[in-house]
């Protein structure tokens, strides 16, 4: 049975070109959806129209002529007004313009010029959206876009060779039927085409990977500072002014706020990710005081070192945080840190006194930073800013006027009702103990008091009445959430004379069991408290029940409020999330250090392979030499003869089997390719002038055999490989002549 290679006509190629073009357009819009571009209806409309162009090509291809007449002026007006209305922000209108042009190119009957324009336009969309989002979907998009565009260009080239006039065939969509089209396309898939395409694509991916690994690192965001745009993200609402209920509202959001690489081993206790320290009491809630804000140290660098007092020696496992874009401008830190290294230069305000840092504004897309010299102890060491507190606690006058940080950490409600409730609470904590109590003991007792008979609930029904909301809640026995527990704890502590502050951030996170990292979601948002101890510094306390007992340095594996237990997450969603982290770790965050590590790793592997091969060869060679050097008796010679005979038999059997398999495969898979190859040799011989009789008897024999393969029946073919070898020689000989 002869197999025939499927043949295409120009209209077939045109149809393929059309559908591939539509798919390219659709694919290029993929990541655009995750950009906050504005004019969503336009992007959605473009996607729907492109989809229509792909699914119902006859309809899309028969748009009325007036449409094409009016489109140019309409687009010009739209684009110009879009740029004017956008003000100075030129990226969104630019992308919108490219989307519009790509849409038109997918809808119109295209000749070669428009096909190439479509490729350029979609490529712009893919690259711009990819660079702006840095999402893993960009990698997937590229992995799909690249073969598709290669296929598209291949079809464009083919159709050019079919029709040099480069026209649109009239009959392209007459009697178009998807089933028939797909059947025809399936007929084209021949194993050789698939193998060649696979090899080509793998080669391209390999060379791209090698380029990626070997190119000097540079930071795109730093090089092109204007290329920043807000990615669509979740806004948690962490701000310098937290009113009651803010944290709870954040906890309703399940999206990932950041991911943290903490090394391969899960920490024994769930980390507290501090983002913001609220020192000032206001009736609406706690906030960052003006004086604390002013203390912020502005740094414009990609490397931030904590002040000497906090600086820890470098070492330990560095933690890397992949902070999602748009979550917050306050960066989460698991305790005090020594150094923060960003991927690129950033403007950061560092709160040395509070162990926090904030960006000028929420990062537009994912932000990477690495923390070294981490101190996970439940104490934030003393800082020079705390001096006034030490003096105040020692009884020295703090001076009049508005209190500045750190004295703001002693602020209390002014009304008598609240103070009375607080006094009662302080008395209950002290429990009649009149001796001076240290901060640690007081804190522990206060936590016990707050948690005594009081449950945890995200919905609270605080009784109406006079006084501060926290003291009213404290006075009641209703359940509360972390903000209330932390706030009430701080007020009680302050009333007892201990400076205290509320810390907000995240607690715990889901431990991804696939790639070993924390997925910290917005529902892990949390508030806790710190009390000042003049000896040690700021002591961490967890007033919220079902969490850490409040004792310092006692690790706990229990679940904490809000389900922040660090259970290993091995769900499908976690797997998908782990892919994203691989993308961050290996691609986006691939820096010079990793580059060097990788190169030296590859070098080491090669070295190992070389060494082991060399050792194996050496031992084999020495064994052989020893054997040959041995006494040559009859047995020795017989063994040698036997081994040579075995080798020859194996070789002959291998050749016979190979020939049998190849012949069977040739008969089964059809002979069209072999015939085509023989035809190519005949052409080359003719081109080289070897088809003249002067070529000699050898040349005539080769030509006859090639003709036999080209036109003769498969069963009577001469040995194909031998003929091709002779043909190759004949071609070379003819070329020399």
């Amino acid at each position: 049975m002869e197999s025939r290679l499927a043949k295409l006509d120009y209209a077939d190629l045109y149809r393929m070109k059309w559908i591939l073009g539509g798919l390219l357009g659709l694919l290029s819009l993929w990541n655009i959806f995750s950009l906050d571009l504005g004019l969503d209806w336009m992007v959605r409309g473009a996607a729907i129209l492109m989809m229509a162009a792909v699914l119902w090509p006859p309809v899309a291809a028969s748009l009325p002529a007036w449409f094409w007449r009016v489109q140019t002026p309409v687009i010009v007006v739209f684009v110009v007004s879009d740029f004017i209305l956008a003000g100075g922000d030129f990226i969104p209108p630019l992308i919108r313009m490219v989307i519009l042009l790509a849409l038109l190119r997918t809808l119109q009957p295209r000749t070669r010029r428009e096909d190439l324009q479509l490729v350029v336009l979609t490529l712009i969309l893919v690259v711009v959206s990819g660079v702006l989002t840095l999402e893993i979907s960009f990698a997937l998009q590229l992995a799909l876009y690249t073969p598709l565009v290669m296929l598209f260009l291949f079809v464009v080239n083919l159709s050019e060779s079919f029709s040099p006039e480069d026209t649109v065939p009239d009959n392209a969509w007459k009697r178009f039927c998807w089933r028939r089209f797909l059947r025809d396309v399936r007929g084209l898939f021949d194993s050789r085409l698939i193998i060649f395409s696979g090899v080509l694509f793998s080669g391209m991916m390999l060379s791209a990977s090698l380029l990626f690994i070997s190119l000097p690192r540079f930071e795109l965001g730093q090089t092109l500072p204007f290329l920043t745009m807000q990615a669509r993200g979740t806004y948690t609402g962490f701000s310098e002014q937290i009113t009651y209920g803010d944290i709870v509202s954040i906890m309703n959001d399940d999206s990932v706020a950041f991911r943290a690489d903490v090394g391969p081993v899960r920490p024994r206790r769930s980390p507290y990710w501090r983002m913001l320290v609220l020192d000032e009491y206001t009736p609406e809630g706690f906030s960052v005081s003006e004086s604390l804000r002013e203390r912020g140290r502005s740094v414009s660098s990609n490397f931030v070192a904590a002040p000497a007092v906090l600086r820890q020696p470098r070492g330990g496992t560095p933690w890397t945080v992949y902070f999602e874009g748009g979550v917050s401008r306050f960066l989460p830190f698991p305790g005090s840190f020594g150094h923060v290294r960003f991927q690129s230069r950033h403007d950061v305000v560092v709160g040395d006194a509070t162990g926090t840092a904030a960006m000028r504004e929420a990062p537009g897309n994912v932000l990477f930073y690495q923390l070294t010299g981490l101190q996970h102890a439940d104490v934030l060491p003393l800082h020079e800013a705390d001096e006034p507190l030490i003096r105040a606690l020692a009884g020295e006058a703090s001076g009049g006027g508005k209190k500045a940080y750190p004295l703001t950490t002693l602020g209390l409600p002014g009304d008598a009702a609240s103070l009375r409730v607080l006094d009662d609470a302080v008395a209950a904590v002290r429990g009649g103990d009149t001796e001076a109590m240290d901060a640690e003991t007081f804190g522990r007792r206060a936590v016990a008091l707050l948690q005594h008979g009081r449950g945890y609930s995200l919905r609270t029904d605080i009784p109406e009445g006079d006084g501060d909301i926290l003291t009213r809640w404290l006075d009641s026995d209703v359940a509360g959430h972390c903000e209330l527990f932390a706030g009430a704890f701080v007020l009680v502590a302050r009333r007892a004379g201990f400076p205290a502050r509320v810390v907000v951030g995240f607690h715990g996170g889901d431990w991804n069991g696939f790639e070993n990292y924390f997925m910290v979601r917005n529902r892990h948002a949390h508030a806790w408290a710190e009390i000042f101890d003049p000896e040690q510094g700021w002591l961490h306390f967890e007033p919220t029940p079902a969490g850490l007992s409040g004792a310092i340095g006692q690790p706990s594996e229990e679940a904490t409020a809000g389900g922040t237990q660090a259970q290993a997450d091995r769900t499908w969603a976690a797997y998908m999330d782990s892919l994203r982290v691989i993308w961050y770790r290996r691609v986006v965050n691939f820096d010079r250090e990793q580059q060097q590590q990788l190169v030296s790793g590859i070098g080491a592997v090669f070295q190992t392979v070389r060494d082991s091969t060399e050792a194996t060869l050496r031992s084999a060679f020495s064994a052989l030499r020893e054997w040959f050097g041995g006494p040559w008796d009859l047995r020795h010679i017989l063994i040698l003869v036997r081994n040579i005979a075995i080798a020859v038999i194996v070789w002959v059997l291998f050749r016979v089997a190979l020939r049998w398999v190849l012949t069977r495969a040739r008969i089964r898979s059809g002979s069209a390719r072999t015939r085509a190859k023989a035809g190519r040799f005949l052409r080359r011989l003719r081109a080289a002038g070897a088809d003249r009789e002067s070529g000699g008897p050898d040349s005539a024999r080769v030509r006859a055999e090639l003709r036999h393969i080209r036109y003769g029946p498969v069963v009577s073919w001469p040995e194909v490989d031998a003929v091709f070898r002779s043909a190759r020689r004949a071609v070379r000989r003819a070329a020399r002549v």
Partner: protein, 321 residues
């Protein structure tokens, strides 16, 4: 039959023997000899169209003599009756019944000399016998036997009192051949050899009738690869779209060209057809089946025009390699 069992080299040797045998007598007409052998091998019939005295009859005679088989010659005239060709039933007084007396068509190689001189009725009787290889008489069908080949001749110049063969009947001939004038050297040799009447020519048979029938049975088994068939069809298709022709070649013409190409491949010792075989046979196999749209008064001129157009078609249609 499996194509790899075709003894192509043996057939080539046998046919080469015949060819050499004929070429001893017919000088310098290798192409015509080869073509008539292709006709013989394809079980087809040949029409030799040329001027008188160029060796048409001698060629047919030599062919018959090279083959160990029967030969008969019918000189067609306007008063020739069908019964003169196929035979007649006569009353046998002793047997008291009609017995069929076989005509000259009951032979292996039949030379129908100046076929266009006979009436259409007589021509039809011969052509029917050619087509079917059988003769029907008095409700009885008699097979002519194998091998059977009619070599008809006609004079393209002298049209006085002739009945030109209609296109449909031209289609029955596998090929139309031309002898042409011999060149100087060949004619010198002919002159040196002295003039011989054709039945005085001393020529020995080299292939038996039975052998030839065996070869003929192998012709349909010669392998024709699809691209070669496509090439053949493209050529035939081109005659159908050619503006100069009144009508293109028929499907019978396609079949004839394929069979002839298969026979030529065997003649050259191959068990498969190559495009060159097809290209070589296009003119002799198709030219007599095609008629110009603007008929020329002169038959030779018309023939040259048709052959010229066919030659251009062969040049135009690319050969599959």
């Amino acid at each position: 039959m499996e194509t790899d069992t075709i003894p192509a080299p043996r057939i080539r040797d046998a046919m080469e023997g015949m060819k050499a045998n004929i070429a001893r007598v017919i000088k310098g007409k290798d192409a015509a000899i080869e073509n008539i052998l292709v006709c013989l091998l394809s079980s087809g019939h040949a029409l030799i169209e040329d001027l008188p005295g160029l060796g048409k009859t001698t060629l047919a005679y030599c062919l018959a003599r090279s083959l160990d088989s029967g030969f008969s010659r019918i000189q067609f005239t306007s008063d020739l009756l069908p019964s003169d060709v196929i035979g007649v039933s006569i009353y046998d007084d002793r047997e008291r019944s009609f017995t069929f007396k076989r005509g000259p068509v009951f032979s292996n190689i039949v030379l129908a000399d100046e076929i266009n001189r006979a009436t259409p009725k007589t021509q039809s009787a011969l052509l029917e016998a050619m087509d079917r290889g059988k003769v029907s008489q008095d409700g009885e069908t008699l097979p002519i036997g194998r091998p059977f080949m009619v070599v008809a001749t006609q004079n393209p110049v002298d049209y006085e009192s002739t009945f030109p063969l209609p296109e449909s009947q031209m289609d029955r001939f596998l090929m139309r051949l031309h002898m042409g004038y011999p060149n100087f050297k060949d004619e010198m040799e002919i002159l040196r050899g002295g003039f011989l009447r054709y039945d005085e020519i001393d020529i020995e048979p080299v292939v038996s009738g039975g052998e030839l029938t065996g070869f003929q049975d192998l012709v349909p088994s010669v392998f024709v690869e699809d691209s070669v068939l496509e090439y053949l069809l493209r050529i035939v298709g081109a005659t159908r779209t050619e503006a100069e022709f009144r009508a293109g070649a028929s499907a019978r013409a396609s079949l004839a060209l394929r069979t002839a190409a298969q026979a030529l491949a065997l003649l050259r010792g191959r068990s498969f057809v190559i495009p060159e075989d097809v290209a070589q046979l296009v003119v002799p196999t198709l030219a007599h089946r095609l008629v110009l749209r603007r008929a020329s008064g002169d038959a030779i001129e018309e023939r040259h025009a048709v052959e010229g157009i066919l030659g251009k078609i062969v040049e135009r249609v690319p050969q599959p390699v």
